[in-house]
Structures are given as C-alpha cells and as structure tokens.
C-alpha cells in the first residue's frame, strides 16, 4: 500500500513537471519588458462587472454595448468565472432577432459579440438595483450561486461597466427603477472599506454619464464616462434589417480600440481614455483621475481588461523512474474486478403510475 502511495506521488510530480515545461515554453514568448511590468503590478487578480440595465428590443444597442466589453475582457484573459455579466433582456434569442443566438456590433455583421460560449450571470428580471448593489458590496443572499458573487479581495482590479438610459445623477434599471450616483458612490466606498478592490475602473456609457461618478470619494478609482452632464450619448448607426440602433458611439470606438489590443500589448489606460474624441463621439468623454494615484499613461490596459498574473519560471529538471509498476497494475485490476462485482446488484423501481387507484 505504501508503494502505491509513493508511486502516485511520483506520477503527480511528473505531471507537474510536464505542465511546467509546457508553460515555460509559452512563457518564453512574452517580451521581457512586459513580464517585468506584470511583476511590478500591484494587483493579483482581475474581475469585471458588466451591466446592461435596459430591457426591451429597441434597446438592442445597450446589449451590444455590454457584450462588446464582455467579448474584449474575455478575449484578453479574464475567465468567465471572474466576469459578472448582467443582461436585462434577451436580444440574441429574441423572437424579433432574425439571426438567433447572435448579436452584432455592426449592421455589416463584423463581430458577433454574443459569441458561441457566453455565460450570463444575471438575466432578465434578476437585473435590479438591489442585486447590483448586493453584488458589489458582497451582501448576496444566503444560497446565492457562486457564479453570481463578486469574490474579489484587496488584490483585485475591478472593471465596472454600466450602460442603459441615464439622466443627471441616475441610471435607469429596466424602466422601473433607478440607481443614483450617491448610491453608486456608497457602494464603491463600502467595497473599499471591505477591501474588495485594489483599483477600480468605472466605465459608463449613457446620457449625462459623467454625473454618475461625481459623488465618488473612494481612493484608487479611475472613471470614464461617455458624456458630460447636460450632454446626450449618441448611438452609432441603425441596422435597417432589424430596425434598431446597433451600438452606442462611445462603446463602438472603445471596442474598435480593444479589438487591436493583444494580451501582451503595450497599450496603456491613457490611450484608452482617448478612444473617442468629440468629432466621432459627438458627446464629450468625461474622465475622472483625481482619485487615482498612478499615471494612466503608464498603466497597461491589461491591468483592467486582461488577466495576467505574475509567474515564476523554474528551469531545473527532475528525473524520476517508476518503481513497482507491476504491483500498481495488479492492484488496479483487482479493484476493477471487485467494483464490477459490486456494481451489478438488483434493484426494484417503484411503479411509475398510481394504477392501484384505478382498480
């Protein structure tokens, strides 16, 4: 029995080494400078909270907005388990959508932002102000599934993206309730007090979007809004075949920029903050940097949109040989026979229909 244990340990070590060797090969492809910047970064993990707050088919563009960001962060390496996607309505499988299971950012159908492996965490009626605030502050109800929780810590860089219909100081959720800028600021403050983020990038695409970050007081928050107070955010273009606006201007250009970003690219947050100049966006993009300590021009964009963790590469090799191979095989065969004997037992299923009541 001891020999089996030892053997297993050896097999495990071998596997570990094999995986390390493969990861080493992949690691060598990264540019030195990039690896350095990753080692220096202050965060240990990345999370994204992406919210589409509007329902109904005519708000197709808001779903396309949020899916554009979803697509980008997923492509740049944030796993689905660390993305909380909230969609207030179903556009992809909507009866009005002539292309079921697909949502496009462009009338020419350039990018299917819905993709083939999307995972929506909150959908339909679940997208409420209460659930959103509970999610951010970590006060989810007892029994909430793990995929519906924001399990961040003091080392997490969090991207929060909101889109919907907004006004001065509020954002509408599903045409029936609103979240105010004060509530948002309080939620973020609570996150900071509970050490639920390291840095937070707040991005919002809605009318009068800048009003939503005005009340923030918590440190390490970088915020960008598609329009200033008093301005409308505008949509990009209509797809005549489905009769609705496809996407909003700000997010359209943000996606265009993000599509060119690769996991090892050197693009910075500073560049990202300038993706939509007034001549294309029509609205003025608002930025709030006073709470953020670092210079956005020196922060790699992958600090918020990607998920690369510091890695240590070992180059040493360990040689192992398998001992007592025969014992191992014999034991496995014996167990197999034993299991086969045990797995064939007779069971009786109850009758599936209450026929006794019909006699």
């Amino acid at each position: 029995m001891q020999t089996i244990g030892r053997l297993l340990l050896l097999v495990c070590t071998l596997l570990c080494i094999l995986t390390q060797i493969t990861s080493q090969e992949a690691g060598n492809q990264l540019p030195e400078k990039y690896v350095e910047s990753v080692q220096r970064s202050t965060h240990t993990n990345n999370w994204a909270v992406l919210v589409d707050a509007s329902r109904f088919w005519f708000n197709y563009r808001h779903v396309a907005n949020v899916l554009s960001i979803y697509r980008s962060v997923k492509r740049l390496g944030i796993p689905d388990s660390q993305i909380i996607l909230m969609l207030a309505d179903d556009m992809a499988c909507n009866a009005r959508n002539p292309r079921p299971g697909q949502v496009y950012n462009n009338a020419k159908q350039h990018i299917n932002v819905y993709g083939d492996d999307v995972e929506v965490d909150y959908r339909g009626y679940e997208v409420t102000v209460e659930n959103f605030v509970r999610l951010l502050t970590g006060r989810t109800q007892n029994g909430t599934a793990r995929s519906k929780k924001l399990l961040t810590d003091a080392g997490s860089n969090v991207l929060i993206y909101l889109t919907g219909h907004g006004g001065d100081g509020f954002l509408k959720f599903q045409d029936s309730e609103e979240i105010t800028s004060q509530e948002l600021a309080d939620a973020v403050e609570q996150m900071w007090e509970k050490k639920r983020y390291n840095e937070l990038f707040f991005m919002v695409d809605t009318c009068q979007a800048a009003s939503l970050y005005e009340k923030f007081t918590s440190p390490n928050v970088l915020a960008v809004a598609s329009s200033l107070v008093g301005e409308d955010s505008l949509s990009h273009h209509v797809d005549q075949s489905i009769g609705v606006y496809m996407i909003d201007r700000y997010t359209y250009y943000a996606l265009e920029f993000l599509e060119r970003v690769q996991p090892n690219s050197k693009k910075t947050m500073g560049e990202f903050l300038q993706v939509c100049p007034k001549r294309v966006c029509i609205s003025t993009v608002g930025v709030r940097k006073d709470l953020y300590r670092r210079d956005p021009n020196k922060v790699p964009i992958t600090d918020f949109f990607g998920s690369i963790r510091p890695t240590q590469i070992s180059t040493g090799r360990v040689n192992i040989t398998l001992e007592d191979e025969e014992d191992f095989i014999n034991a496995a065969i014996a167990a197999e026979e034993e299991a086969a004997k045990r797995s064939t037992f007779k069971v009786e299923f109850p009758s599936q229909f209450p026929s006794e009541l019909f006699k």
């Binding site: 499988c93 079921p100 492996d117 599934a145 029936s176 014996a334 026929s355």
Partner: protein, 597 residues
C-alpha cells in the same frame, strides 16, 4: 481478505484517477435522428454518465461526472433531479411523443430522501438546490421558492432507489418558470458538464447558431442515484439530453438535409472518454435515401409496434475526416409520410373576455379504442385565484352526446396570495375515443405596484399542466424504461404498460395592469390646475382694481393711425419710466379698464 481488497479499492478511488475511470464510470453518447411528417426532423442527443461510486465519501473524488453534480449530492439530500430548459412547443399531434418531455420555459423537479428529513428542511434545501443550478446553468432558477413550488402526490413517482432500509422519508418538489428563455448562455454551461466539453464528440455538433434556429429545442438534465442499501454501494446516473426539431426547408434546401446542414458542421469523431458513440437513424417508411448507408440495422419491437433503426458506430470510423450523413429524397414520391396520431394529446386555453373573470380549460383527447387512466396536475400561480367549486369534467365522445364525470381522486391545495400556488391533481379515466374538458373559473386581480414586472403589459405566464398516463401499447413511444439508462435500452423494451408524461401549452394571462405613469400624470395635472387657480386668486387678492375713463375712439382712418403711433410711443415711455404709473390705454383696444399695479 475481502476487507483488504475493498480498502485498496477505496484508496484507489481516492487517489488514482486513471484506475478509477476504468472501473467505476462509463460515458455514452447517442444521437437519434427521426425525420417526421411535414419534412421536419427531430434530433435527440443523449449523453449518459453512469458512475458506480460505492459509498457516499467517494463523491469527493469525481472523474467523468462533473464535480458540482457530485457535490450537490453531498450538500443536499437530493436523490433525483430533473431540469428542463425549453423553447418552443412540442406538437404531439404531428411530432408524436418525445423521448424526454419538458415544459416550455424552465422546469425543475427533485426528490429528496434522508433519515430524519422533514418537510421544512426540504423546503430550504429545494430553494438552495434551485439557486445552485441557476448558477451552474445560467438560468433564473433562483426565482424558485415556496410561492411557486408544489408537492405533487400522484403525478411523479420516484425513479431512484434508496436501498433496502425501509421508512426513509421521501419528498418531491416541482416548479416551473414558463417565462424563462433558453439561449447560448444555457447551452454553454450545459456543454461544459460533459466529459469532453464541446470540443470532441457529439457535443461538438451543438453550436448555438444551429440550435437556436430550430422550431423547438429543449435542454434536459437528469440525475438519480440507485443504491443497494442506504447510502452504501450506490450508482449515480447523470444524463444530459438535447431535443431539437429542425425544419430543413428553413435551412434553404428542397427537403434534403444532412448532419452538416443541420448542425453547421460534420461530426469530428467521438469523445475519447466515451464507451460507445452511436448515431441511430429512424428508417420507418422514410422517403429518404441515406448516404452513407447505416453500418447495420436494428429492429425494435415494442408494445406491438416495430421500428427499424440504422446504426452508425462512430468509434469504428476513420477519425481523420468529418463524418456526415445525408438524407436525400427518393426520386419516386410514392409514399407520403404520415406520423400516426398519438393515442393521447392535450391542449389548454384561457376562456372568457374582459378583465374580471376567466376560465382555464384543459382539453385531453383520447384516440385510443380503450379507456385510459389519467393523472392531471395543474399548478396555478397565487395571483390567479381559482374556484374549485366551478370545476367541471365534461366528456365529449366522438359520436354521442356529452356528459359530465367525477374524478376518482382529487388532491387540491388551495393557494394563498403571495405564499403558495394553487395545486390540483385529478385522477380520472378518459373513455375511449373521446375528449375530456376540465375547466374551472378564476378571477383577474390587481397586484401591488412593485409586484408588477418591468414589462407588466407583456402578461403573466401560467405553467403547463402535466398529464401522466399508462399506455397499453408502444406506438409512437420512445421513452427509456425507468430501470434503464441509455437510449439504446428502449429498443425491444416491451413492458406490460408504458408510462407516458405529456404537457400542455403554458398560458399567458394579461392581468389588469395599471398605468404606471399615472402618479406622474396626476402630479402634472394637479399642478396645472393649482397654478391656473392660484394665478387669478393671487391677482385678485393682491391687486387693486381702478376703473378709468377711456378716450373716445377716433372715427377716421387718419385718426386711428395717429392714435396707434401715439400709443406705441407712450408704451415705450411707460416701460422706460415708472412702471407703477398708470397709462390710460390698454393693450387690447376694446377694454376700457386696466389693472394697475
């Protein structure tokens, strides 16, 4: 000695994944393709994992079974679980019976069993179980709670076995969310529960773009445990099914179709972990020629009907290229394909007009030449107050006058607003060749303001009614017997009777919806009225009225012009100088008095 071996076996289960896969679990993938009448095609995928895990502690170490499934068994006392996510309507009259029936929207049903388990514990576990699977399947199953769950007494019987120990309390819970949509976000995690994910094997055919363009698609999940004795020497069966109805004409063909046409790509071999990977093709009276022809044929005789199936064993194929099967219409159009009418089908309607009173009517038709025993389950939400004294069962024979019957057994739990739904189970016999109409009245009610969903005018959904029966013959019947687990086990599985479960349509009820902008309108209107009233009253109360004599109007044209000019001049000087000073003229030529400040 035996004890020693079992210890080794246990250790192996714990520690050695390679040995354990071989000895304790097996995975099978099956695809059944059945061309139906009207040129439609039914494709049914079944992925079955059967794991002989032995004792409960071994659930910690999973191989082919996904970890969350095994952990659910550890966390909760659930022994059997069915989840269905369906879009579209299965039309029994033209499609026949499905292998696995599911209601439109989401549907969950679970059996709990355990020592010292109480109904309150089960209520709690049931909500948490639904919530867990809402996370696993990205569906809003977390909306399941006591207000929409029922405890069927007759409709469902256990399909699990707890083992020899008697008197273990068993509880069942059922809930449906007919509003639930099914889209890529459900298919993705559903595929992730398979051992080979979606990369290899039959699951690679399930791509969102080619699943959601169907007339009907239903994702199913079934889990059950079979134990030799209580929590000892157990088997866990985990089955995932995908049932779809394609319309090849919508795919732009003249009725011919192929795997590649239906699923967007050919089959890229089989899942390496699968014990068997087989495609079954229905060959009964088909107007199609198959290329390539099936490797071998299987004839299934079941309950008096014979079915011929062509089998493709994918594991025996050359792995290098994509495998495709084409169904090409025969040149001679001699045989017109007709799906035989199934012996039993049902529909449901809302009757009545206006928004005060209505009636729910369920219509069950028996086309069989003998009477059939029926269990009907109605699950009516709490916001539809129903009146059981109006319950009527009317039999309409195909020939003859209609008459009423009484149910043999009636199990009714009245609903309580905001607390529990109305639950009705009826047991009765439906006479040969006749239709039974089951109807009862309900009221339309107003909800509280915040209970209306954001899209209140869309209407509220009522889940399907479930009808269970026992058929004496197996025509149209493809369900898997309860003691078996593979689709292939349904071949030649003759029994004395065949348990059938069918569902009606879900209903949409348009409750009286208040105008939510009313408070805003009232505020606007009230403010306008107040403003209109306030202005004059304020003026009257604060201004002094002085009557002044007015000069006579000049009669000649010249005089009028001169006066107009003069007046304008005077107005200017008025505004420039002291406003309090009165001027004799008014802006309106006809008035003779002016209000002065």
């Amino acid at each position: 000695m035996e004890f020693g071996i079992s210890i080794i076996f246990l250790i192996l289960l714990y520690a050695s994944p390679i040995a354990a896969v071989k000895e304790s679990s097996e995975f099978n993938e099956e695809l059944y393709v059945r061309p139906m009448a009207n040129g439609l095609v039914n494709t049914f995928f079944q992925f079955t994992t059967r794991w002989h895990y032995g004792d409960r502690e071994n659930l910690h170490n999973t191989q082919l079974i996904p970890r969350p499934i095994a952990e659910t068994l550890l966390l909760y006392d659930v022994k059997e679980l069915h989840i269905g996510l369906t879009q579209g309507l299965w039309r029994y009259e033209t499609y026949g019976y499905p292998v696995m029936d599911n209601a439109p929207g989401a549907e969950v049903r679970a059996w709990f069993a355990g020592e010292n388990l109480t109904s309150t514990d089960v209520d709690d576990q049931w909500v948490k179980l639904a919530s867990t699977f809402s996370g696993i399947l990205c569906a809003s199953l977390n909306f399941i709670d006591k207000t929409n769950s029922v405890e069927p007494k007759y409709s469902f019987r256990p399909q699990f076995v707890t083992g020899s120990k008697a008197n273990i309390p068993q509880f069942v819970r059922y809930a449906s969310l007919p509003r639930e949509i099914v889209c890529t976000e459900n298919l993705t995690p559903w595929k992730k529960l398979l051992p080979c994910n979606s990369k290899q094997g039959f699951a690679s055919l399930l791509n969102s773009g080619h699943v959601h363009n169907t007339n009907y698609h239903s994702l199913g999940m079934k889990m059950r445990t079979i134990c030799e004795s209580y929590n000892k020497n157990c088997i866990l069966e985990f089955t995932e099914t995908a049932n779809m109805v394609y319309d090849p004409k919508l795919l732009g063909t003249n009725g011919d179709f192929s795997l590649r046409r239906l699923f967007g790509q050919g089959l890229n071999g089989h899942c390496a972990l699968a014990k068997s990977s087989k495609i079954y093709v229905n060959l009964d009276d088909q107007p199609y020629d198959l290329t390539p022809t099936p490797m071998y044929n299987v004839t299934s005789r079941r309950g008096g009907s014979t079915t011929t199936l062509g089998v493709y064993d994918i594991q025996r194929l050359d792995e290098d290229k994509f495998f495709n099967i084409a169904w090409i219409n025969k040149k001679t159009k001699a045989n017109v394909q007709i799906t035989p009418t199934p012996p039993l089908y049902a529909h449901r309607y809302i009757l009545g007009h206006g928004q005060e009173r209505g009636q729910i009517l369920t219509q069950i038709t028996n086309k069989h030449y003998a009477a059939l025993p029926i269990v009907l389950q109605e699950n009516i939400p709490w916001f539809v107050p129903s009146y059981m004294h109006t319950l009527k069962l009317i039999v309409q024979p195909e020939n003859g006058a209609e008459y009423t019957i009484k149910p043999r057994v009636m199990h009714y739990i009245p609903g309580v607003q905001r607390l529990r739904p109305y639950h009705l189970e009826l047991l009765f016999e439906i006479p040969a060749l006749s239709t039974v109409q089951i109807s009862f009245d309900f009221d339309y009610i107003f909800l509280k303001w915040l209970e209306y969903p954001p899209d209140a005018n869309h209407g509220h959904y009522l889940g399907s009614a479930i009808i269970t029966t026992q058929l004496p013959m197996g025509r149209n019947y493809t369900a898997i017997p309860v003691d078996k687990h593979l689709f292939a086990d349904s071949f030649n599985a003759s029994r004395s009777s065949y348990f059938l479960e069918i569902r009606t349509e879900s209903l949409i009820l348009s409750l009286p919806t208040p105008d939510f902008s009313m408070p805003y309108n009232v505020i606007c209107l009230a403010c306008t009225v107040v403003a209109l009233a306030f202005g004059p009253i304020h003026s009257v109360a604060t201004k002094r009225i002085v009557v002044e004599q007015k000069d006579a109007q000049p009669q000649s044209l010249k005089g009028k012009v001169m006066q107009k000019l003069f007046r304008r001049k005077q107005n200017k000087t008025d505004t420039n100088t002291n406003k309090a000073e009165a001027h004799a003229e008014t802006v309106f030529g006809h008035s003779i008095a002016d209000v002065k400040q």
